[in-house]
Amino acid sequence: MGSEMKTKEELNSDAERLLEPILAKKAAGGTISPKERLAIPVQEMPTQDPAARGKNVSEVALGYGECQARLEAERCLGCKNAPCVRGCPVQVPIPRFIEEIQKGDFKAAADTIKETNLLPAVCGRVCPQEKQCQLECTVGKSLKSIDNAVAIGRLERFVADWERENNKVTVPEVKPGTGKKVAVVGSGPAGLTVAADVAREGHRVTIFEAFHKTGGVMVYGIPEFRLPKSIVQAEVDILKKMGVSIETNFLVGRTRTVKELMEEDGFDAVFIGVGAGLPKFLGCPGENLVGVFSANEYLTRANLMKAYDAEKSATPIYQSRIVAVIGGGNVAMDAARMALRLGAAEVHVIYRRTRDEMPARAEEVEHAMEEGIVFDFLRNPEKILGDDQGRVTGMEVKKYELGEPDASGRRSPVPIAGSEYIFDCDTVIVALGNESNPLLTKTTDNLDVDRRGRIIVNEDQKTSLDRVYAGGDIVLGAATVILAMGEGRKAAAAINTLLK
């Protein structure tokens, strides 16, 4: 835990001292040996003080300063086989962009990333790099800990922020118009990726979004304190400059069907990236009491509708004193931390397994703990209790222990008989994951879906319908921003081939 808590400026001037001799040596024509590179300390991410940040929705992680970024970049060995790139779902040319940072050419670094990823400011912030690019990093392996891998995500974020803050953002080149029209359904990470890749080839792209704002989970789900909405907006604005049209308040399946888009509105291809937005509930008694929310509802009110600003926002949010968040993923962390910022006195995360099995990013769990969120591991609610007004007063909770590893190697939680106890709380937020929303698939004839309502696609992301492609969570089930983008990239390539 960041007990010393240095400021962004202090961290940057520490980095400056270490960076100076390296730059001097290079300027004199010398080279930095791998041994020297491995000796450079991992650059810590400056953050807002935990006590202060629990009371605001501003971004927690503050981002590297220039010296910190350049020093961290010097840790990269520039491996010829670049294992990190293999770990990235959209194959960002990582060693190349880091080399540009080493040279101090941040603009070139940003342009290099954008060859394959148009949302670097988002991905640098929310990707689980420890399970992707950084997991494969040679430096991390040499130093025997994933924590010592080159901080690729932080570097990606740095160059994207630098470019935006210094007004150096350039619009990617778009080929001459082909006259072909492509509809992109959903403006989340998958849809935005497809829109960019297809627009580059000169096709006319229209994005259809049901909400009044674009960005999907990046605007309604991931909170401001992890991903400022102005950043999502800036990245969407680039698409508009590339000629992409955006239709908000347009629910495909109701406002127009997929068939109408193709047969009447003249779209040559359709990409479906509507995500997995249907929240799961507990299925236990009391789940419809007042004070029980899906994390989707809670976060949508707080993020998209900005209910955290009770003076300006017309959307109310439940006033809570003691909050129980059920679940152990990133959404649970986001909901718990948001509840704290909305003034709850006490926030508990109730999770059936232990910290080791939590699917949430380690960094988010750490941040939550620093902010004072309480973790009740090996617990699960049996039922939610309410008063005569139908409002939540608590939960009956059962204790669990970890049993034998199952087929997948994960130890499954086993309830302990007779261990039930009453946990007092006034709010329950359910973050047990999402399923695919059936609205679009049910209103599209002959579109094949699996048992769980996910759209079935081939290796090119093509669905059972000609000229209709799908990707992201509607295919994968609830996954990550970057995996959705990876699917979008594949679909876009297939659409571009189709329309050639």
Partner: protein
């Protein structure tokens, strides 16, 4: 942006507004609704009914009651102004078929969403009996429009200032007692009214459809804010409804859930009256 074409005040606190929304006008069916947000940055998303549509003109008509801050802000807009966000049509259309005799009950503002259903039921060849209920004479809306389609129209007011002095359940009971009894009934209005319509029809084994207007945020099935218990199962009003078999709905739970934000709504409504310079008057029900 959806331009307001016309606005008409139908009663003390009920307005009819016609707005430009060509795609919605084209695809909407009886029973469907909208999510409306007056301003993108700070406005809330509220569910409103589509009372009518003109596909040729590309317009839809919504009827709403000023029960809170957002509906009041909507009511002070004028033709030429715009509503920033209108999403629709949402929800499943009403199941329309030739049932035989259909009794349609509308209470208060619920008369507006009932109108396209009455129209469609009549066009499908049914004998349509309509009951309109209001607190008082000034709050009776859509009488003329209903008359065009209803085979029989009964108006009741709580205070007897117009039509019969009765609750809607009285004429409903009489229709149920007739021989043959109705083949289908529909009730749209305040939850308490729908609950008692359900009880009345249950006695006679007459099926009843109710259209629920719960709290909503997105209206597309992604949050569950609108959820209700139907036949012991959790259902989302925005995608599974808004119409359900009234005999299976847990109205008690629904009414409790609709009061979730009562304190905040009262505060905003009060502030809004001051801000908009409107005389406050008693606001019945929640949204």
């Amino acid at each position: 942006m959806n331009r307001i074409i016309s606005k008409k005040q139908l009663s003390a606190d009920v307005y009819e507004m016609t707005i430009e929304a060509p795609l919605i006008a084209k695809s909407r069916k009886a029973g469907q609704f909208l999510i409306v947000q007056i301003d993108t940055d700070w406005g809330e998303r509220i569910p409103l009914t589509i009372a009518d549509a003109d596909p040729a003109a590309g317009t839809i008509t919504m009827v709403f009651q000023t029960v809170g801050a957002s509906t009041h802000k909507l009511a002070v807009l004028s033709p030429g102004d715009s509503v920033e966000n209108v999403l629709g049509p949402l929800g499943n259309p009403t199941h329309i078929e030739k049932f035989g005799t259909v009794v349609c009950v509308g209470g208060g503002i619920g008369v507006a969403p009932l109108f396209p259903i009455v129209q469609a039921m009549k066009e499908a060849g049914n004998t349509v009996k309509v009951i309109i209920g209001a607190r008082t004479k000034e709050l009776v809306i859509f009488e003329d429009r209903m008359r065009k389609y209803a085979d029989e129209l009964v108006i009741v007011t709580d205070d007897g200032s117009y039509g019969r002095k009765a609750l809607v359940t009285e004429p409903l009971r009489e229709f149920c007692e007739a021989d043959p009894k109705p083949d289908m009934s529909i009730a749209i209005g305040p939850p308490i009214m729908m609950k008692f319509c359900e009880k009345t029809t249950a006695e006679f084994d007459v099926p009843i459809m109710v259209s629920l207007n719960t709290i909503m945020i997105d209206g597309t099935g992604m949050c569950g804010g609108c959820r209700v218990t139907v036949g012991g199962e959790t259902k989302f009003v925005c995608v599974d409804g808004p119409e359900f078999d009234g005999h299976k709905v847990d109205f008690e739970n629904m009414m409790i859930r609709m009061r979730s934000y009562k304190d905040r709504e009262d505060r905003d409504h009060h502030t809004c009256h001051i801000g908009l310079g409107i005389e406050p008057h008693a606001a019945p029900g929640g949204k």
